[in-house]
Symmetry: C2
Subunit: 200 residues, 2 copies
């Protein structure tokens, strides 16, 4: 117990743990911890169990790499989807955002991030070889590149498009309806839906 | 799996659980869940354990009622504090904020909220009888009323001050340096420290 932190033991540990959440600093974490202890202990127990279950039970779909509790995610396990289209996204969150638009019926491929030359992340580090193999499977007629419209996302799309086209695979990009500089995950669904229709 | 929520099972459950945190809506909860799963699974496990430990292990100090893992909180268990002063606050978070100013050396008494006539919460429901008994113990020379400077907090201070004075106990109030309409927990520490010195 110090002057700047009167919380001891379990309370202090809880505040520190809550600071691992994105966008949560010391003040917010304190507020959350006190709220749970004072008004919602059931919520604290429920959250503990949900975090444990998610950390242990959620892996990656062996086909598209999005988060999944089973070997194949619900999309990949659905034979009704359009096998002619393969949509490439940067993250599972982006895949979920696209799925929420309800305007895409093909399959997905989730990259392991995006190319970032400054950080030494090249096209091989994000799973390009695996994508090329997947895109070369019989039936795929178009690969829709839906990486973010940031500099790194654009670079990723550019490199992947070149590689795909050199193998004779048609590569398209979401239309520029998506505001430049934004992360796909946070774009409103209508904008994503339009960009999907207007893909070039 | 529905069109509006492609997350299934454990991921959906985690998002729902995170929405129990104050100030966290659907979008923030999604962002937190994806962040933990993609970048910080250790953080998720640590948070699960911290939440469980806090919900099970943190009770209330039997003397001042603030959060405590032992029968007596560190402040109440400290014989070096000034037994002539007793500071009354609304919540454990308020007690922690005052303690953080490092400018108070007496003991505390944490109320069970504040009077709210419209909600049927009177002075007895917030533990007034217990406070009067505690304040009547030998050695207490001054009760500092540090309830919030909101309408309900002011009403609480007013009612308690009357009850204390009618029993011959000196009751003071934090000075009005604290911005009116604000919750003590969120006031900057310097303001609280000044208000403590200038109590009337
Ligand atoms: Zn899949
Ligand atoms: Zn205590």
């Amino acid at each position: 117990m110090t002057a700047s932190s009167p919380e001891a033991g379990a309370l202090e540990a809880l505040i520190e743990a809550l600071k691992r959440l994105p966008g949560v600093g010391q003040k917010s974490a304190q507020r959350m911890a006190y709220h749970l202890l004072q008004h919602d202990r059931d919520g604290a127990r429920l959250m503990a169990e949900a975090l444990r279950a998610a950390a242990e039970g959620i892996g990656h779909c062996e086909r598209c790499h999005t988060f999944s509790e089973s070997a194949l995610c619900p999309v990949c396990a659905d034979p009704e989807r359009d096998a002619r289209q393969l949509c490439v996204v940067e993250t599972p969150a982006d895949q979920a955002a696209l799925e929420r638009t309800n305007s895409y019926r093909g399959y997905y491929f989730v990259l392991l991030g995006r190319v970032s030359p400054l950080d030494g992340v090249g096209v091989q580090q994000i799973g390009a070889a695996e994508l090329l193999a997947r895109a070369s499977e019989g039936g795929v007629e178009e690969v829709i590149l839906a990486s973010s419209f940031t500099a790194e996302g654009e670079a990723t799309a550019h490199v992947l498009a070149e590689a795909l086209r050199s193998r004779g695979i048609r590569a398209t990009r979401l239309a520029r309806g998506v505001p430049v500089g934004s992360e796909l995950e946070y774009v409103d669904l209508g904008t994503i839906a339009h960009a999907l229709v207007d893909r070039r």
